[in-house]
Symmetry: C2
């Protein structure tokens, strides 16, 4: 299929610099990407189960994302489904404070607390 997502060292959407973090932001800023990583970090899954878990995400996009993430070396397809690589697990680990943050976000939404420069 030749999807070929963003990789560090190469210009990406919104940045010619090739700075690694920009490639990461591009990759992660595509629909479903973080969700897929998130789901796979909980429990590895095959194509269709992944699709089910993500509330019927379209199969074509799932294929594209799996291609991008695989060619970025974040996951691999194994007999029993897609797994995160060590690199992929590290990414999820790097992203994990997001869960705690989101809970705080939920709490503070509706409040009128803490807002200044």
């Amino acid at each position: 299929m030749e999807a070929r997502g963003p990789r560090p060292g190469v210009p990406v959407r919104g940045s010619e610099s090739g700075r690694p973090v920009m490639a990461a932001l591009d990759l992660l800023g595509r629909r479903w990407t973080m969700r897929i990583l998130w789901e796979l970090s909980q429990v590895p899954a095959g194509f269709r189960e992944l699709q089910r878990r993500c509330e019927r995400m379209s199969s074509s996009v799932l294929t594209t994302r799996l291609d991008e993430l695989t060619s970025a070396r974040l996951l691999t397809l194994q007999p029993d489904g897609y797994h995160l690589t060590a690199l992929g697990r590290d990414l999820v680990k790097a992203l994990s404070p997001l869960d705690a943050w989101s809970r705080r976000w939920a709490k503070e939404t509706g409040d009128m607390t803490t807002e200044e420069s």
Copy 2:
């Protein structure tokens, strides 16, 4: 403009659950969102400067994102430009391990275009 992005506690794209982290993943998984937060965390900026920094991102999308992020209480418009709120700064803080990870990613992908951030 009434764009109104995802908020915790409300069903979002790809998840009916309303779980906070799903709302966060939806919000952050939109084009330019993380980049905008990233840029504003470095230095606050007005509309046009922000547009310049993000290599000419389209103004219409920028408006939409600023609207979403503002109504999510992650940033505010002040006389001297857009600023992160305390909540927004915490988000960026939660996302900050991404920078270190991306450098490792770059190393392990074989590409050595590791510029300074």
